[in-house]
């Protein structure tokens, strides 16, 4: 465990020495951003909308006291999605999508000697292959999380009004009451930390794959499992520190 962590740190450091030209890395980063975006925008949207909808329906089911105003439902949907559900669930979904694709992609490049081909050309393969993926994740995760927040709240609105649990004006009143902007900042900080964890852990797993196709599959699964555990741990730590 300690040894793995040590080699992880060495891996991170190797990425930062002997870097390629900025223009090359920047172009690779943009390519990766597009890939992450197009790959995951659909699944993130679907998950976010349904989570918002389910949250809304379940809260209204639990809120039976006539003393509590209906707008509380809207308020609670907003608080839950912004603080926890949007950043964490989205990142877990992305761990499955982006993490497995990073680990699988790098693992395949490793076992088919494409990594060696880069090294023979005198290119620092870690910096060329991994750095753009990590930076792209750090850029894209927050955007996808913000999208997820909006869609969750929208999903809650649709579910609430369509099932008749809450009226449109009550819901909107709820989501506009007692808004704390810092919660958004907190969610974005979370998503940046999760982005770094998912991309670097998956890259580490994929980059050091040895063997054949079977090991690439194992690296992908390992990347997803480890990323999710890391997300949940970090979620707890960040909440303890920053809230």
């Amino acid at each position: 465990m300690v040894k793995t962590f040590g080699s992880f740190l060495i891996f991170m450091q190797s990425m930062l020495v002997r870097k390629e030209r900025f223009a090359v890395l920047w172009k690779r980063t943009i390519d990766e951003c597009v890939l992450i975006g197009t790959d995951s925008v659909f699944i993130v949207s679907v998950v976010a909308a349904f989570i918002g909808a389910v949250t809304c329906v379940q809260i209204s089911y639990n809120l039976i006291s006539p003393l509590i105003p209906k707008s509380t439902i809207g308020y609670m949907v907003r608080e839950m999605t912004i603080l926890e559900l949007a950043p964490t669930i989205t990142s877990i979904v992305l761990a499955g999508k982006v993490g497995s694709s990073i680990a699988g992609g790098l693992g395949t490049m490793r076992i088919t000697e494409q990594v060696s081909a880069l090294e023979v050309m005198g290119i620092n393969s870690a910096s060329y292959l991994v750095l753009p993926r990590i930076v792209a994740s750090i850029l894209m995760f927050p955007l996808l999380v913000i999208l997820a927040m909006l869609l969750s709240i929208l999903g809650g609105y649709l579910a609430g009004t369509l099932t008749g649990a809450i009226s449109a004006s009550e819901y909107i009143e709820g989501i506009r009451s007692d808004f704390i902007p810092y919660n958004i900042t907190f969610a974005i900080i979370k998503s940046i930390v999760f982005a770094f964890l998912v991309s670097s852990i998956s890259a580490f797993k994929g980059y050091y794959t040895e063997g054949g196709a079977l090991e690439v599959g194992a690296a992908s699964t390992g990347a997803v499992t480890n990323s999710i555990i890391a997300i949940l741990l970090a979620d707890f730590v960040l909440a303890a520190i920053l809230l």
């Binding site: 002997r18 390629e20 030209r21 090359v24 395949t108 490049m109 088919t112 000697e113 494409q114 060696s116 081909a117 090294e119 023979v120 050309m121 005198g122 290119i123």
Partner: protein
């Protein structure tokens, strides 16, 4: 000229290279010959710097490569072209982009037009002028090797390394790839090192042959000397193929049968 001096390498106490001394001559196809698992790929990886030898040194035209300063190693690396056993083409790029890649990365000062000319020249040289837009997954094994060669020679390499360029190819394609490597070597006067366990390659392109056996160099010479070499392990290696044994049997069974066969005209392939 590449000089290998006392190169040793072990994995977990298991010695794979036991002190190799040899030289690879400029302008020649130097073959590393030996059975599977004798450490040929490990030696090649030590030479190109993908692996660090435990002991010994490697010198490229007088410049020490092993344990030298990063700048100097980098300088040498930029002169190295390598064809990998599985071709190792970047599978997200087309044939054209694969060939252009080292130019983009290593010679940023080159203009777009110069780059295009160079890529087109290299693709034409390996006979793939019409395949530039194809993806690696769409082309045959032989074509992949050609792209690998084009990518290796694109930045005007001084040293060309090929790890089993014939693996996975049919005999006719193998011969064509061998010939291509041989022609390129002589055309540009580069130092070429080819790993092989294929006797066809040996008699075809073996300007200088080094025979490895269990991590040791047992023989070196050229293709005219190899058939009469006295080293038992080498003779075992050469004459162990079923074709040679079958030919011997025919020869023994019918007096002069082999000669009669050899004198028959070959049909055009």
């Amino acid at each position: 000229m590449i000089e290998i001096h006392n190169v040793q390498k072990a994995f977990n106490g298991n010695a794979v290279l036991k002190g190799i001394n040899c030289t690879f001559e400029t302008g020649k196809c130097n073959l590393l010959l030996g059975g599977s698992g004798t450490g040929k790929s490990v030696l090649l990886q030590c030479i190109v710097g993908l692996m660090k030898p435990d002991l010994g040194s490697i010198t490229f035209d007088g410049t020490v490569f092993t344990n030298n300063k990063v700048d100097i190693r980098q300088e040498i690396r930029r002169k190295i072209g390598m064809l990998f056993q599985g071709s190792a083409l970047f599978d997200s790029m087309t044939v054209y982009e694969n060939t252009e890649f080292p130019l983009k990365m290593l010679t940023p000062e080159m203009s777009k037009e110069e780059r295009r000319d160079r890529v087109e020249f290299c693709l034409k040289r390996v006979g793939l002028e019409n395949a530039g837009n194809k993806m690696p997954s769409e082309i045959s094994g032989g074509m992949k090797k050609r792209v690998g060669i084009a990518r290796a020679i694109a930045p005007n390499c001084t040293y060309l390394f090929c790890d089993e360029p014939n693996s996975g190819l049919d005999p006719a394609t193998s011969i064509k790839i061998d010939e291509l490597i041989h022609e390129i070597t002589h055309e540009y006067g580069i130092t070429t090192v080819v790993i092989t366990h294929d006797m066809n390659s040996v008699v075809e392109i073996g300007d200088h042959i080094i025979f490895l056996h269990k991590g040791e160099k047992l023989w070196d010479g050229n293709k005219d000397q190899i058939l009469t070499a006295k080293v038992p392990e080498l003779r075992e290696f050469i004459f162990s193929s079923s074709l040679v044994r079958a030919a011997k049997r025919v020869d023994e069974e019918s007096e002069g049968g082999l000669e009669a066969l050899a004198n028959e005209p070959l049909s055009e392939v």
